[in-house]
């Protein structure tokens, strides 16, 4: 009897803890809709579903990822610090840096005395804990889909009291994309490849950022429907045998490592299977700018689509 009561108490304690954990865990909810003017203090839900309190109009914002930087500047905001990878727009490129997006320096952020930090949702979740020690509100943005970009712009616009600019930015992006789509003839297939170290090659699926852009241009993608594999989400491991049996019209390659590291477009010529693809043999292999098409996903998606269309048309000639 006594033993039974003890077990019951343990179970109660356990369920209480679980309930508490469940309450504080992130639920997938959408960010709050915006109103025309911002009143502080403000309560928002960021792209990670986190509830965040903004007590006053932020004037010293630090961004830790190109997506965060470009989203902020697109709605007309400014930052006082950025990560070393954020190179756009030009005003942001001269800001002091707080480390790279892969290795943020909490101390450098603290030194800038921020009142808001904007991070990227997919790849920077793990730094939230260390950033919380600064006692500053943290907002996560995301740009894996057009919806994400719209919502992130609205969210940041709301926070910095630039709702109108945000709405305008969203409209601009959409109209530009429609214009690009109007010019796209479609009907082509394109394979987007990226290489890991030891010649292991991944293809971007339509769920990835570059895949999304290709899908916007109505380009078909041989990687559609393949399972997610490898360390990059939205990418699938692409073997030479698969390369042999797929026949894209154009192959795009992304080489994230800066020169003098070899370009994937050159390496493909040496890799068996890939060098047999008609597009590779015919020279229809184009390098995409890794910054525009991968690392700085965000508001410039329309520019990226425009660029990709231009490259497709060039390659087709």
């Amino acid at each position: 009897m006594k033993k039974g009561i003890i077990i019951l108490l343990h179970l109660l304690l356990l369920s209480a803890l679980l309930a508490a954990a469940a309450c504080s865990s992130e639920t997938a909810s959408t960010p709050t809709p915006t109103s025309a003017q911002t009143n502080y203090p403000l309560s928002v839900v960021d792209m990670l579903g986190r509830s965040v309190q903004i007590s006053q109009h932020p004037t010293r914002i630090v961004t830790t990822h190109p997506t965060a930087t470009e989203t902020l500047y697109k709605v007309g905001g400014t930052a006082v610090g950025r990560d070393s990878g954020s190179k756009y727009p030009a005003e942001a490129a001269t800001l002091p840096t707080v480390g790279s997006a892969y290795k943020i320096s909490v101390e450098a952020i603290a030194a800038l005395n921020p009142d808001l930090i904007i991070i990227e949702a997919l790849t920077q979740q793990n730094i939230i804990d260390s950033l919380q020690t600064l006692g500053v509100p943290i907002i996560a943005v995301r740009a894996t889909s057009l919806d994400d970009i719209d919502q992130s712009l609205a969210l940041v616009g709301n926070i910095v009291d630039r709702d109108e600019e945000a709405t305008q930015a969203v409209a601009d992006i959409h109209s530009k994309i429609e214009a690009v789509q109007g010019n796209a003839t479609g009907g082509k297939s394109v394979l987007i490849l990226i290489a890991d170290t030891n010649r292991i090659i991944y293809a971007a699926k339509p769920e990835s950022y570059p895949g999304t852009i290709a899908a916007l241009l109505n380009l078909s993608n041989p990687a559609t429907g393949l399972p997610d594999s490898g360390p990059y989400s939205g990418f699938t491991l692409f073997t030479s045998e698969q390369a042999l049996t797929s026949n894209p019209d154009v192959v795009f390659t992304i080489s994230p490592a800066p020169p003098p590291a070899p370009r994937l477009s050159e390496m493909l010529l040496q890799i068996p299977g890939f060098n047999q693809m008609t597009a590779v043999k015919g020279g229809q292999v184009v390098e995409l700018d890794p910054f525009l098409f991968l690392q700085a996903q965000g508001p410039r998606i329309a520019d990226a689509a425009e660029e990709m269309l231009r490259l497709i048309n060039e390659a087709a000639e």
Binding site: T197, S229, P272
Partner: protein, 324 residues
């Protein structure tokens, strides 16, 4: 000596089977009829390309690397009288791994031939260090193993550092530079073939003397086996073979460690028979390990170094407990 033909024959059979598996099985299904016509007939059909340009070079690369590593391990273990001798473990492949990293980072721009030559030369540096220490007075097996392991860790750190500095790694996968046969073509493995030959030929005159080396330097010198020179040649040969192997496939671990022990289990302790058996045994083990890596989660792949480690690491622990 009598068992050797039997063992070699069995290994040859396993080899043929392994080659068949390597060309017949894969993400793209090929039935027996298509397979045979693709192998025998010439022409540009997709099957032919699949077999001869994709699967066959990968199979041959695995065989070549496996033989190199198996023989290198055999030579190293008897030359240093250390049962955990392994060209990767003792840092003999370390220089080659650094060369590989420099090439991946684009800091070295040379064709496949140049890379292999440079890898072999770099491996000889590590081999030289080991040879120097191994011939010192009072060098216990455990101490030499520690020196070798330190050298290899240093090389791995340097290689990883080069790649990290060049930002070749993606943000998520700062992996250790492991071995792999993925996407290896004929142009990658052909330059390594002559070094396989050179390594073997260099070792042939000293293999017989390695039996006497087991008695210790004083006694083997008294028998006329010239221990210091014999050891230097054996380790140099091991370095050449190890360097060529790394140039083709990166650091495929534990093969050089496992093969001599298995060979001894099969044919006894005479180093000459162990040497001969190590050639096909290393090839078979590496080929089958690559098939497992390639096929177990088809169409996804796991690193071949993972497979060899899963088998080789427990063996190493067992050996180290019993002998060192």
């Amino acid at each position: 000596m009598k068992r050797v033909p039997l063992v070699v024959g069995a290994l040859a059979l396993l080899l043929v089977l392994g080659v068949l598996i390597g060309v017949a099985l894969g993400p793209v299904k090929i039935d027996a009829h298509r397979l045979i016509s693709a192998i025998l007939l010439h022409g540009d059909s997709a099957d032919h390309v699949l077999i001869w340009d994709l699967r066959m070079p990968r199979v041959v690369a695995a065989l070549l690397v496996g033989s190199c590593l198996g023989v290198a391990g055999c030579l190293l273990q008897s030359a240093t009288r250390n049962p955990i001798g392994d060209p990767q473990l003792f840092g003999l492949g370390g220089g080659a791994a650094i060369v590989q990293a420099l090439a991946m980072a684009g800091l070295l721009r040379m064709g496949a031939w140049g890379l292999v030559v440079l890898s072999v030369v770099a491996s000889l540096v590590g081999a030289g260090a080991i040879a120097l220490f191994a011939s010192r007075q009072g060098m216990s097996p455990a101490r030499l193993a520690l020196i070798g392991i330190s050298l290899s860790a240093l090389a791995a750190a340097a290689a990883t550092g080069i790649l990290a500095e060049a930002r070749v790694f993606s943000q998520q996968s700062l992996n250790f530079v492991g071995g792999s046969f993925v996407n290896r073509g004929w142009r990658d493995l052909l330059p390594a073939l002559p070094f396989f030959g050179i390594g073997l030929v260099l070792a042939l005159p000293v293999v017989g003397k390695l039996n006497a080396l087991a008695l210790g330097d004083r006694l083997s010198a008294n028998l006329g086996a010239e221990p210091i020179r014999t050891r230097a040649v054996a380790i140099a040969s091991s370095g050449i073979l190890g360097g060529a192997a790394v140039a083709v496939a990166g650091l495929v671990g534990f093969v050089g460690l496992m093969v001599p022990h298995l060979a001894r289990l099969l044919v006894g302790h005479d180093i000459r028979t162990v040497f001969i058996v190590s050639i096909p045994l290393g090839a078979v083990i590496t080929l089958y390990a690559d098939q497992v890596a390639r096929l177990v989660f088809v169409p996804s792949e796991i690193p071949v170094g993972l497979v060899t480690a899963l088998v080789g690491a427990p063996l190493m622990i067992y050996v180290a407990r019993r002998v060192l």
